[in-house]
């Protein structure tokens, strides 16, 4: 069943969109990532204009992350205080990101920027996560737990706060910066930024892993909400019908993911996520260097 998208101005199969939403939503609930890093390239692949894909995906992530946050909230696995610090940075970051996006869209370089961001960030995160999770897997096999680091590198910084749920007493600056970086990426890449935030929370901030996913989703929900609003106002690229189709699949998938999560082993899950991230990265990177079949494109900003 084909459906005409009013903003994207293309006709696409509704079941394909529902399926994509469902699959990506499941990953979202499973890993605490928005899944945007998969969905945005997929949408562009099926013919949605990049600007519409990025803005609409942000809207969809609002739904899947809210659905996930509710589930985690009931389990008390959300550190609201940490979430708010991350969010403060995130809102600032997304405001900057949307402006950058609008300028590059006019210049016709959105595609390149989006692709480069994907390759760089997915590459870094994927490799780090892969190495880390493999060594964690090895340690888990020999039944040795990684020793808890006594001193964290950020201990010298001011504005120390106690994050009870995360079992941390650290400066508010690192989480604020992590939030800001993720906010910029959310706006430019049409992603929630969970794939960066989750590892940053674990390895950079040293948060307790139990609250990482819920807290990440909490922050992502607000940042992508702000991004959606800003894209709607500045670029008019949020497609209501596309968003609804994606989020119907997305919220259902997210709920399944959240329930599936505890049944799987965390280390194995992280290896899988790392592989997935690297796969997407390799595909986008290859497209950047491969000699294209068609050198010309019909650019945006023409009307």
């Amino acid at each position: 069943m084909n459906i005409y998208l009013p903003i994207a101005e293309v006709s696409v199969n509704a079941f394909l969109l529902l399926g994509l939403g469902g699959g990506v939503g499941m990953l979202s609930g499973l890993f605490g990532v928005g899944g945007g890093f998969l969905m945005t390239p997929l949408l562009i692949l099926i013919g949605i204009p990049p600007a519409v894909a990025v803005a609409t995906e942000a809207n969809q992530i609002v739904a899947s992350s809210f659905s996930g946050v509710l589930a985690h909230w009931r389990r008390r696995t959300v550190d609201f205080k940490m979430g708010l610090v991350l969010l403060a940075g995130g809102l600032l970051g997304s405001a900057v990101g949307v402006q950058i996006f609008a300028v590059l869209r006019a210049l016709g370089q959105v595609e390149l920027l989006v692709s480069l961001c994907y390759v760089v960030f997915l590459g870094i995160v994927g490799v780090l996560m892969f190495i880390e999770s493999l060594s964690a897997l090895r340690k888990a096999k020999t039944n040795k737990r990684a020793p808890r680091r006594g001193h964290h590198w950020s201990h010298g910084l001011p504005f120390k706060m106690r994050f009870r749920a995360s079992n941390l007493y650290i400066s508010a600056i690192p989480p604020f910066l992590v939030g800001a970086l993720v906010g910029v990426l959310a706006a430019i890449m049409g992603v929630g930024g969970g794939f960066i935030m989750v590892p940053a929370m674990i390895y950079l901030l040293g948060m307790a892993t139990t609250v990482v996913v819920g807290t990440s989703l909490f922050q992502i929900m607000f940042v992508t909400g702000a991004t959606t609003l800003m894209h709607a106002i500045l670029n008019q690229t949020v497609d209501g019908i596309l968003a609804v189709l994606l989020l119907i699949g997305g919220v259902i998938g997210a709920q399944i993911g959240v329930r599936l999560g505890p049944k799987l082993k965390a280390e194995q899950l992280r290896v899988l996520l790392a592989l997935l991230v690297l796969l997407v990265c390799a595909k986008i990177g290859y497209d950047l260097v491969r000699t294209p079949d068609e050198f010309f494109t019909i650019g945006g900003g023409g009307h």
Binding site: M1, N2, I3, Y4, P6, I7, E9, V10, S11, N59, Q60, V62, A63, S64, S65, F66, S67, G68, L70, A71, R74, L107, G108, Q109, E111, L112, L116, G225, T228, L229, M230, H231, A232, I233, Q236, V238, D239, G240, I241, A243, V244, L247, V251, I252, A254, Q255, L288, V289, R290, P292, E294, F295, F296, T297, I298, G299, G300, G301, G302, H303
Partner: protein, 256 residues
């Protein structure tokens, strides 16, 4: 006497074509409005008509018909990829001032065999006269092949097409064709022109317009997104939150 009359007639109408000028096209379209609804997957327009003439069918040249449906013309930016530091980067682009959003043509024979360059230029039938630069034209831009690329890309996505021998003519009088408009139509007033040709010359033109409009939900969403973007953004978020809550509540009730 009869001979004299024939001579007079010949003197008054020195060319054989003049007889042809008596022929006129009368045509109809199966629909003059296309509504883009949520389920819109394209629309087939049936174009039919007849050739009205006072004299018997001229035997001099065969009759040809070109049916051209063109979408609203808009400036389009075409960009070319260049390799920089090993990756393919878009250039700043060339603005092609006019390009129809749709170019759907059906003919009775190969385009170049049935219409002369002069008449093609005069009536702007061929794509090269529709996809063009306005005013001062930069020769370099032409040479770099930007308009050609635009045509190629639009052909690939199905927005530009020519159905050679897509028009059926019976008894040199009646003709009909079907033109399938693709799903990715943009809004606007489309032109439908029917050219009657003899000896590669345009004898008569019939013109009609097709109104393409988004309706219902499509119209509402599009208008709101552009006219009340802040409200639209807020509603988008509200819908997302509601969906997230619904799914969460539903799943909690079903699997607790």
């Amino acid at each position: 006497m009869l001979l004299l009359a024939a001579f007079v007639a010949l003197a008054l109408v020195p060319r054989a074509h003049a007889q042809i000028a008596e022929e006129r096209v009368v045509a109809g379209l199966s629909q003059t409005t296309v509504s883009i609804t949520t389920g819109f997957t394209g629309s087939e327009i049936f174009i039919y008509g007849a050739i009205k003439r006072d004299a018997p069918v001229p035997k001099t040249w065969p009759l040809d018909i070109i049916v051209a449906v063109t979408g609203p013309s808009e400036p389009v930016i075409v960009r070319k990829k260049d390799r920089k530091f090993g990756i393919w980067v878009n250039d700043s682009g060339v603005k092609v001032d006019a390009a129809p959003s749709l170019y759907a043509v059906a003919t009775t024979g190969p385009f170049r065999d049935i219409i002369s360059f002069t008449d093609d230029f005069k009536h702007k039938v061929g794509l090269e006269h529709l996809v063009r630069f306005i005013g001062e034209t930069d020769d370099a831009a032409y040479k770099a092949g930007y308009p050609e690329a635009l045509v190629r890309l639009r052909k690939a996505e199905g927005s530009y097409f020519v159905l050679t021998s897509g028009v059926k003519v019976s008894e040199e009088t009646l003709f009909e064709t079907r033109i399938a408009l693709p799903a990715n139509l943009v809004e606007g007033d489309y032109r439908a022109r029917i050219f009657l040709l003899r000896d590669k010359s345009v004898v008569d033109v019939f013109e009609s317009s097709i109104e393409v409009r988004k309706v219902g939900l499509e119209r509402w969403i599009y208008t709101m997104a552009h006219e009340k973007p802040a409200l639209y953004g807020v509603i988008s978020i509200a819908v997302a939150l509601a969906a997230g809550w619904l799914a969460s509540t539903f799943f909690r009730m079903v699997f607790r």
